[in-house]
Amino acid sequence: MNVVVCVKQIPDPAAPGALDPGTKNLVRAGKLILDDSDAYGVEMALQLADAAGGGEVTLVSMAPNGETSGLRTALAMGAAKAILISDESLAGTDALGTAKVLAAAIKRAEPDLVLAATESTDGYTGTTPVQVAELLGLPSVTFAKKVEITGNSVKVERQTEAGFDEVESPLPAVVTVTAGVVEPRYPSFKGIMAAKSKPVETLTVADLGLDAGQVGAAGARQEVTDVAEAEARSAGEIVVDEGDGYTRVIAFLEQLKVL
C-alpha cells in the first residue's frame, strides 16, 4: 500500500513569530523544521504500510526556498522518498493555491491513501487537506483519531462534538489525523544516516503543469489590510505559594460567586 503524507516545514513555533512589514506574510526566512503536527501522519503512514505488508510512504511538501531539513526528519523516521515543490513564485500562496500544488504532486505518486494533519501549526487554516481531496475528486475523512485499512477501504474513528463517528471510505481517500493518536517514533541514528541519501525530487510549479497565476500572492486573491496591537489584559495579582496559595484561589472564586 502506498501512502502519501502531506508535510509542512515551518519556522520553529518556540521562536517568536514575525510578519514581513511589506507583504504582511509570516516570515519563513530562517531554518524550517518539520511541523510537529505532521509527525503523527508520518507515524500513522509507516504503521499502516507495515500492517498492509509493505508499500512506500512518500512525503509531499511545498516550500518557497528549497528547504529540506524538515523532510529529512520525516525520512529519518522511515518514509521512503519525498517530493518537494519549490519555486520562488510560491511565496504568498494561500490554502487553495497550496492545495492545487499538493494535489498536482500527489497525483504523480498515485497513492492508495493520503494522510495530513488537521491543520498546520504556523498558518492553521485547516482547509488544505479537504481542498486537496476535492481537487482530486476523492472522499475525505477529517479529524481521525483511529485509522484502519481493511482490503480496499479505510475505517476511521472521526472526532465529533458528541463523541466519535465510525466512518468507512473506499480507497483512495484523504484522511486527516489529530495529534496524539499514535506515538511518533524518534529517528534512529541509522535512520538519520539513511535519510541523507533518500531521494528528494524537487519540482517547480511549471513541472506540475500549473499556471503561475494560480499560486503566489496574486493567486491568493486576498490581502492583509491592517495589523494592529490587540487590547492587552491588565495585569493581575501574582502570589508565591507558601502553603496557603489554595486559600487565595478559594477567596477569588467566592468573590466571583462561583462558590
Binding site: 472522499p139 475523512v141 495529534a179 486573491r221 494592529a228 508565591v240 505559594d241
Partner: protein, 323 residues
C-alpha cells in the same frame, strides 16, 4: 462588491441550531441585507422557528444525507445555487469539524479562496473585512478578498454574541445535493456518544485545564476532580494532547476550542501563544504554575507561583470539606 445577501451554515445538533451558527446569523444580520441559512439533516423543519427568530428568512434544506459526511453534498448544493445565480455574496461557516469540510470543498468547487479563524467581521469597500487573532491574540490582523465573490469565511466560536431579533419562522426550501460521485463515498456507519458528566467545554461557566506541568498522564485526574467540584469542564493544553494524555476534544487553543468561561483555571500550563488565543478572553483567569516567568501569568487575574502537585490536592480537599 456590495454584500446584500449572506448565507450562514446552520448546523443542527440535538434538534437545535448550534450556538456558533446563531452567533454568525446575528453577525450577518448586523452586516445588513438578507440572511439565509443552509441546513442539512432530518431536523431542519423543526429549527425554522428558531432560525427565523434570529433573522433568517429562508433555509436552503439539503435534507437527510443518508450517512454521507456533509462536506461534499452540502458544498455541492451551495455551488449549484451560485451557478444558478441565486447564491449569496458572502457565506459564513462556523469553525466546526463539518463547517471546515464544507468550506474547503466549496472553495474548490467555486475556485474562490477562503479566510479561516475569523474572529470579527465588518463591512468594507469591496465586501467584508475579517479580523484574525495572531501571535496568541497579541495582534489583530485584518484581511479582505480582492477577487470575485462569493466570499467564504470560517469563523471561530464566541466571536459574536447570539441575540434573537424576533423574526418570523424562516421559509424552508428543499435544496437536495447534486450527485458528487466518488468525492462523497465516505459513509458514517455508526455514531458513538461519549458520556459526559459535566457541562460541555465550550459552554461551561468554569473551565479547569491542565498542561505539561502535571508531569504525567495520571495526574490529569486532579484536573477532572477539580473541574467536577466546580461544576465545570476539564480542558487541556496542546502539549498534553500531542503527548496522548487526553483526547483532542479537550484541547483549548488555536488548534482546539475557544472558551470564554466566567473563570478559567490554568494548571501547569506555561501559556504558549497557541494556548492563549483560545482562552485569553475568559472573564477571569487563575493560573497555577511553578515558573514565575511563565507567559500565562501575563494574562492571569490571580497567579499562584507554586507546584500544581501541592496546590491542587489542597484546593480539592478544601472544596470537598465545604461539601
Amino acid at each position: 462588491m456590495s454584500v446584500d445577501k449572506i448565507w450562514v451554515l446552520a448546523e443542527v445538533a440535538d434538534g437545535a441550531p448550534i450556538t456558533t451558527s446563531l452567533e454568525l446569523i446575528t453577525a450577518a444580520r448586523e452586516l445588513g441585507g438578507t440572511v439565509e441559512a443552509v441546513a442539512y439533516g432530518d431536523a431542519t423543519a423543526s429549527v425554522a422557528a428558531t432560525l427565523g427568530d434570529y433573522g433568517v428568512t429562508t433555509i436552503h434544506d439539503v435534507g437527510d444525507l443518508a450517512g454521507s459526511l456533509p462536506g461534499s453534498p452540502v458544498a455541492a448544493t451551495i455551488a449549484a445555487a451560485v451557478a444558478a445565480g441565486s447564491g449569496p455574496d458572502a457565506i459564513l461557516f462556523p469553525a466546526t469539524y463539518d463547517g471546515r469540510d464544507i468550506a474547503g470543498r466549496l472553495s474548490v468547487k467555486l475556485d474562490r479562496p477562503v479566510l479561516t479563524n475569523v474572529v470579527d467581521l465588518s463591512a468594507g469597500d469591496g465586501g467584508l473585512v475579517s479580523q484574525h487573532a495572531i501571535f496568541g491574540g497579541s495582534q489583530m490582523l485584518s484581511a479582505k478578498f480582492t477577487g470575485e465573490g462569493p466570499q467564504i469565511f470560517v469563523v471561530r466560536a464566541k466571536s459574536f454574541a447570539a441575540e434573537p431579533s424576533g423574526g418570523a419562522p424562516a421559509a424552508v426550501v428543499s435544496a437536495p445535493a447534486p450527485d458528487t460521485g466518488a468525492a462523497n463515498a465516505a459513509k458514517i456507519v455508526a455514531r458513538h456518544v461519549e458520556e459526559r458528566s459535566g457541562p460541555k467545554l465550550d459552554e461551561a461557566n468554569v473551565v479547569v485545564s491542565g498542561g505539561r506541568g502535571l508531569g504525567e498522564k495520571d495526574q490529569y485526574a486532579l484536573i477532572e476532580e477539580l473541574a467536577g467540584l466546580l461544576k465545570g469542564a476539564a480542558g487541556a493544553s496542546r502539549a498534553i494532547v500531542d503527548a496522548g494524555w487526553v483526547p483532542y476534544s479537550h484541547q483549548v487553543g488555536q488548534t482546539g476550542k475557544t472558551v470564554k468561561p466566567t473563570v478559567y483555571v490554568a494548571c501547569g500550563i506555561s501559556g504558549a501563544t497557541q494556548h492563549l488565543v483560545g482562552m485569553k478572553n475568559s472573564k477571569n483567569i487563575v493560573a497555577i504554575n511553578k515558573d514565575q516567568d511563565a507567559p500565562i501569568f501575563s494574562v492571569a487575574d490571580l497567579g499562584i507561583v507554586g507546584d500544581v502537585h501541592k496546590v491542587l490536592p489542597q484546593l480539592i480537599e478544601a472544596l470537598k470539606a465545604r461539601g
